[in-house]
Amino acid sequence: MQRRAIFFIAGALLSWLMQTNVALAGFGITPPYVHNETLRPGSDFTQEIIIVRSDPTDDLNAELTINTPGFESWISSDRGLKFLLPKGESQVRLKIAVHVPDNAKLGDYRGSIRIRTSGTGEQGSGISLVLGAQIDVFLRVRDQIFDFEVRRVELFDAEEGHKVLWLNYPGKMTFAMQLENTGNVPAAPYKIRFETYDITGRQLLETSENTNSIKEILPFASQRVEAYLPTFLPTGSYRVKYNVMKEKDSSAQVGELTLSIFPRGTIAGYKPYGFEGLSLPDKLTLILPVVTVSLAIVTPVLGRKKRRARRARREASESATPSRGGMGVTSSTARMRSQAPSAPSVRRSAASSGGDVVNLKKR
């Protein structure tokens, strides 16, 4: 009886003490995945996950458990596997990095990462409840994928072109794009094409394409890039139909924007075209004369050097072997031969073991 009473009391005490100590808070993560379907061997990808706490009154320990059988080594965390969720911070950023080995096989890879929390202080009585979340991992390794999305575009005001002597310098239209690389290789638009109409959009006035190489964006990155297009239109307002070409025969985005062209010198900070904006014929009118003059200067000098070198070689060979059996080559004859406009060419046969083969035809 007494023993039973002791156990009862102990049991009651036990039950009373087995109160749950609840964190009394919510816990969440966003997004709850590491997901990429366009990886390729050797590529890298980072997923940022925000850990959310609704009532961060205490420090919490956080622990990651990576459960990705067959590809554990691909996954890493910028905070390591154990880190602190400080009190007072309702949001903590976590970056999960994925590095696909160069020899990774193509295919799908699935797994999960568990994030679990626990109190940092001494555990209270009874059962303590801790919250966590599962991060689903789904990776697809594929061959090369070239793709990007145009998130936003912007067309800046331009100044009209001008003429210097015979050279027509066009105005420079700057077309900015916010691009997101959704493929797994560096990507950039194939070309940017403009059709410029009058302000009503009815009459086509000119077409143009970008003159610069558009910067490539790394896989999975989002970046602002610029394209420069020439215009010979005068001051005024126009409508531009743009085409961001993904590849030669496909478009990433088409649309319409308005363009304002102002008189030269109007726009602060405007950078007009230089030599690179000239048309090919105009460029040639500058390049060809320079090239021609250069050749005219350089060619005789080179020719003279070659002749000197040849003469030196001949004199050296004559002094080393004054006669050859049966050939009766004299120095005077050698001089004559060197002056011949078409000296016999000397070809070395691939199968020869030595000695030169003389092309008798040219004699």
Binding site: A10, L17, M18, G26, T30, Y33, R114, Q123, G132
Partner: protein
């Protein structure tokens, strides 16, 4: 003298006889006849000569007769041809109703006053003593006469004399012949130049000579236009105009050109410094038109133009509409959104948008875009053209018509947000944002301006990313800008942005009790204590925007948690705890796993109410092993991990 003459005659006759032997005819009778004739002739000659000398002698000589005559007043005369001061010719006609001035360089040998008189006919005019002369036929035949004090140059000097007409109106003829006369006003005997003077009509063939060429201007009676029109559209003005009095035909018909000036400053050939709206591209005989396309942008409202018509020979039209203000109207058109300029991001400027407040609103989502208005980004008063904007936000698979902002009751905080819904609360702030795309409104010639709307989103917002039932969708917006006149347009646009899943759960109950048990005893029914009361339950809320399952695990319990000995006398294994979503038999409940979490198909559906999240209840039960011999405070730790529900039912 007479004897000498006889001898001469005889010598002559004798010579005739002797010189010509053939003249045997000359006998005595013939000689006498001839001599007589010659004598008579000589006598006649002699008498005449004497007579002349006698007369002269009478005159100069003492004793001759004197006679006199007085020449009366002679008229003035032209020193140079009379002329129109302003040439009136076929290429430079005189506008009907104009005043014409003639001039003439003339003199008067008596230095009298000189009047210039211009008449319509060549009949002899009438000079008047001490007054102006008049034309033959009277005043109706007169075009002009010198007025005031006429010049009186002292002979032989000349003077330019002028004659100015009254407005010459001839609604019938295109040419008017004129005849010029110079007259004096001598008392008693005034004179005018002759009608036969070769210069009476000026220098023949000269443009300043007669006739006057009359140009009959158009009468401009009214102006209409086919407006109102939108910016970018063509507006055409038609003038009601014709040569009412007479249709000129010299050098072809008079063709009219319509000018629409911005100010009342027509110069006669073009609009002045105020500028030109438009002018006729080709001159026509009647009712000229002018048109232009309203540029984009053009401020809406009513504007004034000052119309003028001028014909092909430079005559401005007459009539009530010439130079009188006329109005035209540019329509107000609705503002729109510039494609490709929409940006929807979260507070981290990411298009992969995240909710970070459990059971609450995540603030500072931002929707930015460019508003374009063909009427300009500003009004004539300088206020913003686009005055407000209604936006809706929803996932792209949700019906457009169910979230278009056109009616109340659409907003549900899950699949649709609408700032136009008056029955729902959504704290959206929309305003022009000149920092967006660096697009501020620079003035009437600028048609775009950046706008941004910031707003919160509830934790119940449907996700569109990987793992959700709506993973194939994206966020979509309907932006309805409204201008100052209330014109609106609906602009449905995919944003390319995704709403991420917030996988979150929360606990509402902080305690649950297992009840009091002796070793070897425990709950026979999960969640029911030994008194039969419901206990040991745990309510779990879905505090994000996901449907949840759970991974559940726990640790063994002992009095020294974290360092349990594992002995059956003082360690209650985790597996002694069972749980279920209802009060079922303990044995049917799920045994709590230790270390490795066990998946539990909880199916807590995604919360849809902003105030009451969906919950799942876990009931617990325990059996204290009979092997326990140590009483005390047994502690352990149970972990509940949120797992995204893979079911299609959310």
């Amino acid at each position: 003298m007479q004897s000498s003459c006889s001898c001469m005659v005889y010598n002559i006759v004798n010579k005739l006889h002797t010189m010509d032997g053939k003249f045997t005819y000359w006998k005595t009778a013939g000689k006498i006849t001839v001599a007589t004739g010659i004598f008579a002739l000589v006598t006649l000659i002699g008498v005449s000569t004497i007579g002349v000398f006698s007369t002269q002698a009478l005159a100069g000589g003492s004793g001759a007769a004197t006679s006199t005559v007085k020449v009366l007043n002679t008229p003035p005369r032209f020193n140079a041809a009379p002329r129109e001061v302003v040439v009136s010719a076929t290429t430079t006609p005189t506008v009907n109703g104009s005043v014409v001035v003639w001039s003439a360089d003339a003199y008067d040998s008596s230095s009298n006053n000189i009047y210039l008189l211009i008449c319509k006919t060549g009949g002899a005019p009438t000079a008047t003593t001490s007054a102006q002369p008049s034309c033959a036929g009277g005043i109706s035949n007169q075009l002009a006469v010198t007025s005031g004090t006429p010049p009186a140059p002292i002979y032989p000097a000349t003077a330019i004399v002028y004659a100015t007409s009254s407005p010459i109106i001839d609604n019938v003829n295109e040419t008017i012949q004129w005849y010029a006369f110079v007259c004096d006003d001598v008392v008693g005997l005034p004179k005018c130049s002759k009608t036969t003077d070769p210069l009476v009509q000026g220098t023949p063939g000269a443009p300043e000579a007669s006739p006057l060429v009359i140009n009959h201007p158009h009468t401009f009676s009214s102006l209409t236009n086919d407006g109102p029109k939108d910016p970018g559209q063509l507006i055409t003005f038609t003038a009601s105009s014709t040569e009412v009095t007479h249709q000129d035909t010299i050098n072809g018909p008079d063709l009219a050109t319509l000018f629409l000036c911005k100010a009342a400053d027509f110069t006669g050939t073009n609009c002045g410094s105020g500028g030109t709206w438009a002018s006729s591209t080709s001159a026509v005989q009647t009712n000229p038109v002018a048109s232009w396309t309203f540029p984009i942008p053009t401020l809406d409202g009513t504007t004034t133009t000052y119309p003028y018509i001028v014909d092909s020979r430079g005559a401005q039209a007459i009539g009530p509409q010439q130079g009188t203000a006329s109005t035209f109207t540019v329509n107000n058109v609705a503002p729109t959104i510039v494609p490709g300029t929409i940006s929807l991001v979260d507070q981290y400027a990411s298009t992969s948008m995240k909710l970070v407040v459990e059971k609450g609103e995540t603030p500072n989502f931002k929707l930015s875009f460019q508003v374009s208005d063909y009427n300009s980004c500003t009004t004539a008063a300088g206020t913003p053209q686009a005055s407000s904007t209604i936006i809706t936000l929803y996932r792209s698979g949700y019906p457009d018509a169910s979230c278009n902002g056109l009616s109340d009751g659409q907003q549900n905080y899950n699949s649709c947000y609408s700032s136009g819904d008056k029955t729902a609360s959504w704290n959206v702030v929309c305003a022009p944002d000149p920092t967006y795309m660096s697009d501020s409104c620079t003035g009437p010639s600028d048609m775009t301006v950046g706008w941004s709307c910031t707003f919160p989103l509830w934790y119940t917002t449907d996700p569109t990313d990987f793992g959700s039932p709506w993973a194939s969708e994206q966020m979509k917006v309907n932006i309805t800008p409204m201008d100052h006149a209330g014109a609106t347009s609906s602009n449905l646009k995919l944003t390319g942005s995704e709403m991420n899943i917030l996988s979150a759960l929360g606990l509402t109950a902080n305690t649950f009790s297992f009840g009091g048990w002796e070793p070897g005893q425990g709950n026979t029914t999960i969640g029911v204590d030994d008194q039969g009361a419901t206990s040991s339950l745990l309510a779990i809320e879905a505090t994000g925007n996901a449907s949840l399952d759970a991974n559940i695990s726990g640790t063994d319990m002992c009095t020294t948690p974290g360092s349990c000995s594992g002995s059956p006398t003082d360690t209650i294994p985790a597996s002694a705890e069972h749980y279920a979503t209802s009060t079922i038999a303990y044995a049917s409940g799920v045994s709590l796993a230790s270390t490795t979490p066990k998946f539990f198909d909880f199916n807590i559906l995604k919360s849809t109410s902003t105030s009451t999240p969906n919950t799942g209840t876990l009931y617990w039960g325990i059996t204290v092993p009979a092997t326990i011999t140590v009483s005390g405070d047994y502690k352990g730790q149970n972990a509940i991990d949120a797992v995204i529900n893979s079911s299609a039912t959310w």
